[in-house]
């Protein structure tokens, strides 16, 4: 790629440094307004009315009592339930109606008063019953759908070449996103124009969604999301039934309406990570090459949604076969959840890796290095494994099964990860510099909580020779132009080039204004340290504030967009975990995690590290705690809350060391997904190393650990 003035600088005093999150003060003081915090004059509060049954036919709905309840202003059906097939509800939490009232308490009372008659139908929530054919036929076209099979090489020859063969069944559970801020919307109409505050990962998509569903031009819809309390993929796809009902209730009641879901609704109806299971038979040669990998996999993504994942994950196997079954169940549909498919693929692959390594008495790190793809800038696992092993003290790892006396056993595990990420356009950015020296960088993106505002400020400040605090990032408003949804670790790589291009162009325009006053050529000027000056000659220059005085009444404006060559795709990472296991109680404690992770050019180091901490902790939750538990008889979720849907607290957090592996020459890539892929597998392998018993199913609850140990001894 030819050099251009927009290329990332070789050196920067801002880019890649430890800059405090620019919206930190707003968040720690409570000034940051999330959708949940938007209060409008005369605003009503709304609640959804949902099916308590996993599968039922709606016989009748009587809204009349609800309309007579105190404070009620509007009650609407989600759709017409009067005839088949629209009268069937397919999961607990399926939407039926919504009500708006003057207070939330009144809305809750009114929602309870709606009379719905159901004909309860046989439901399917147990995956194995669908697979063995004992489940009732629920889904038109079958409860089980075959995925696309994959084949390579010669499996028979591969097993013939194997010195050892291992077989096992592995599985991961359904978990839910459990964003701290629930899904929700505030809608306000002025005539046929809608303003919607919505907790969303994509304001541009939300605008489209509202407009098409409500039959109004997109130009009539303004979507705002200044701050959001997490999304993790669950807020990426659409405004949801609740978003549309909020808009319709507001229209019907002729008043602003806030509709925020409660915690139970979040668990039931706003997505989840599908389960993933596999029966694998794999062969290994005496010198540590995987010769054959034969897998049948399955999983459920809920009512009519698939549950695919990569298998084998990352490792190269010449001879392999894989079949997959998507099992439909009467549960809420899956949505992308942080690195969709990868944590499942990682767990289903990595466990058998250590079993194979043990069969030929090879160290797991060495075994992985032998079977990973060749090293390349986007495939750095071999180097990271070696470097990580040295730092982690891998040479102190004992063979499988801690032989030291006493009930507390320790162990270590390792795993690798990848993610595509990468950027794309259109992703326009708009830079504005006014004669008072104020710099605005404006774009229609949104901040999931990753630190997008900080990234905007850092890149702009770097280009203009300012401090990030001197830049005013403006995001989270569709009035600022179209932008892609924030998902799949694509935001940083998509928006960063356009921000730099806009800032560089704006600076060029400022140089033109300043050059005559300094009596120099504009091309000789640089911006650094809050000054515009001739390079290496501070005497021929002026401060930023003085320079901007030359702008005049018409502000400098410049546009930028994503450019190829400034972003890249595909990361590599490796993680090491150490645990203790109390073999009397089955309690697993993670004591240490080491993260080696690349993400191309680091824009903001503090927030990049925070993504790694967060990824590890999310994966630790997946490994030890989280589980959507369904009642086997009623099919209803037993833990739709945050006291029995377990998540780590402060005391569960290990020491985490993060090593960001800079690759500035690759441009910006993105980092949300990769660090959460593989910690769970490393933890499970550490438990195996500690106890000598292979844990093949997540989460690693004390009961499961004790059960596996009992079986392992038998």
């Amino acid at each position: 790629m030819a050099n251009s003035e927009f290329d990332w600088p070789a050196k920067s005093s801002v880019l890649g440094t430890r800059v405090n999150r620019v919206d930190g003060p707003d968040k720690v003081t409570g000034r940051a307004k999330y959708t949940f915090d938007i209060n409008r004059p005369g605003m009503l509060y709304a609640r959804m009315i949902r099916s308590p049954h996993p599968h039922a036919r709606v016989v009748s709905v009587d809204l009349s009592s609800a309309t007579r309840m105190p404070g009620v202003k509007s009650v609407l059906m989600v759709r017409d339930f009067s005839s088949a097939p629209n009268n069937r509800v397919m999961f607990q939490g399926d939407e039926i109606a919504a009500v708006a009232a003057d207070t939330e308490e009144h809305a809750i009372d009114a929602a309870r008063s709606v009379k719905i008659e159901y004909e309860v139908l046989p439901h399917l929530t147990i995956v194995n019953k669908a697979l063995d054919g004992t489940a009732p036929p629920v889904f038109t076209g079958g409860n089980v759908r075959d995925g696309r099979p994959a084949q390579a090489g010669d499996l028979t020859a591969g097993f013939a070449a194997a010195a050892k063969v291992v077989e096992g069944t592995y599985s991961t559970q359904v978990i839910t996103h459990t964003c701290m801020e629930s899904h929700g919307t505030v809608c306000e109409w002025a005539g046929d124009r809608l303003t919607a505050w919505i907790s969303t990962q994509g304001i541009s998509g939300a605008r489209e969604n509202f407009a098409s569903a409500l039959g109004i031009p997109q130009a009539n819809v303004r979507v705002l999301c200044q701050y959001m309390g997490g999304g993790f993929g669950s807020k990426a796809l659409s405004v949801g039934a609740e978003g549309l009902m909020c808009a319709k209730l507001a229209k019907a009641a002729n008043a602003p309406v806030k509709l925020m879901l409660d915690r139970k609704e979040e668990h039931l109806a706003t997505g989840n990570r599908p389960s993933a299971a596999s029966k694998i038979k794999a062969g290994v040669s005496a010198d540590g090459i995987i010769t054959a990998f034969d897998a049948q996999s399955w999983g459920t993504g809920g009512a009519g949604a698939t549950a695919d994942f990569p298998l084998p994950y990352l490792y190269q196997v010449a001879n392999r076969s894989r079949s997959h079954k998507n099992v439909f169940t009467n549960t809420g549909q899956q949505r992308p959840m942080r690195a969709p498919g990868h944590p499942q693929g990682s767990f289903n692959t990595e466990i058998i890796m250590d079993e194979l390594a043990d069969q030929i008495n090879m160290d797991p790190v060495e075994f992985r290095i032998k079977n990973l793809p060749p090293q390349a800038p986007n495939a750095m696992w071999r180097a990271y494994l070696q470097e990580g092993a040295a730092e982690f003290g891998w040479n102190k790892r004992h063979a499988t099964g801690d032989k030291t006396p006493g009930p507390i056993k320790t162990g270590m595990g390792v795993s690798v990860n990848t993610w595509g990420g990468g950027g794309r356009g259109p992703s326009p950015a708009h830079c504005e510099i006014t004669s008072d020296g104020v710099v605005i960088m404006r774009l229609g993106t949104q901040d999931l909580g990753t630190g997008t505002r900080t990234l905007v400020a850092v890149i702009t400040a770097d280009a203009l020779g300012l401090r990030p605090a001197q830049v005013r990032p403006e995001i989270g408003d569709t009035a600022f132009g179209v932008s892609a949804l924030s998902g799949g670790s694509t935001t940083a790589a998509s928006i960063s080039p356009g921000i730099r291009v806009a800032a560089v162009k704006a600076l060029d325009a400022l140089k033109e204004k300043v050059a005559p006053a300094l009596g120099v050529d504009a091309a000789s000027l640089v911006a650094a340290g809050g000054r515009i000056q001739v390079e290496n000659d501070p005497s021929k220059g002026m401060t930023w504030a003085d320079a901007c005085k030359h702008i005049g009444p018409q502000a400098i404006t410049a546009e930028g967009d994503w450019r190829a060559g400034m972003s890249s795709t595909t990361t590599s990472g490796a993680q090491f975990a150490e645990v203790t296991v109390d073999i009397e109680t089955g309690i697993v404690k993670v004591t240490r995690v080491l993260v080696l992770q690349d993400c191309g050019l680091v824009v903001s180091r503090l927030t990049a590290e925070s993504q790694c901490y967060g990824g590890v902790i999310g994966s630790l939750n997946f490994a030890l705690f989280e589980d959507r538990i369904l009642d086997r008889n009623t099919g209803q979720m037993l833990n739709p809350n945050m006291e029995w849907y377990l998540l780590a607290g402060m005391s569960d957090i290990p020491r985490i060391d993060v090593r960001i592996k800079d690759q500035p020459e690759r441009g910006v890539i993105g980092l949300g997904e990769p660090p959460t892929v593989s910690t769970a597998a490393a933890i499970a392998l550490a438990v195996r190393n500690a106890t000598g018993v292979t844990m093949r199913s997540l989460p690693l609850t004390p009961a499961k650990v004790l059960g596996a140990m009992r079986q392992g001894r038998a």
């Binding site: 968040k27 964003c179 901490y613």
Partner: protein, 204 residues
């Protein structure tokens, strides 16, 4: 009142929806033993409609007409536009709603507003002194101890309550003091760093 740092009391054991529908007077009668009941003066029945409730929040008096079932969290968020503290789980598990009442951290989602009349209530909206951040707030910013920020106000109030009671906590005391709060983004490591770095909080 749902105290975070005490053994669960009767109110905490019961489900919020239960006392929302029965009212808090009814609840007391349900769970108290006859001996305890005899020791209490029988309170007058209030509700179910709006009743006057006077709260002292961040040193300011707030007069509301609300139903007795309205929680402290909802009273402030929906009736006083004090939206700093958040509603995460709405049943005393996630801690995003943590406020300080008479010096103790409480889950304001599981505390009725009517219960805390006459008490000193502090939420995150009143913690900073104008633009001057409280040392705990500053530490959270400096250590990047937040991501989406939705749990942050609760963590900050829990940290302030901890440090006011114990200005020099051990690592174990910090962990225990913040175990009632959940962060889904996974900022715990840096929250721990932030709270460990704070010096000079006045004993409350």
């Amino acid at each position: 009142m749902a105290k975070k740092d005490d053994a669960p009391d009767g109110l905490r054991l019961d489900r919020r929806n239960f006392f929302r529908t029965t009212g808090f007077v009814g609840l007391a009668e349900t769970i108290a033993s006859p001996a305890e009941l005899a020791a209490q003066s029988t309170p007058a029945s209030v509700g179910p409609g709006d009743v006057p409730v006077r709260l002292n929040v961040n040193g300011r008096q707030i007069d509301l007409m609300i139903e007795p079932r309205v929680t402290l969290l909802d009273a402030l968020r929906m009736r006083a536009n004090l939206t700093g503290n958040k509603r995460g789980c709405d049943r005393g598990a996630c801690g995003a709603c943590t406020m300080i009442v008479d010096g103790r951290p409480v889950y304001s989602c599981s505390t009725l507003a009517i219960e805390v009349q006459g008490k000193q209530i502090r939420n995150v909206d009143g913690l900073a002194n104008g633009d001057q951040l409280h040392p705990v707030q500053q530490a959270f910013c400096d250590k990047d101890a937040l991501m989406c920020g939705f749990c942050t106000p609760g963590f900050i109030m829990a940290s302030v309550a901890l440090l006011e009671k114990n200005p020099n906590p051990t690592p174990e005391q910090i962990k225990k003091g913040l175990d009632g709060n959940i962060c889904r983004c996974g900022t715990f490591s840096r929250i721990f760093e932030a709270v460990s770095s704070v010096k000079g909080v006045q004993r409350g």
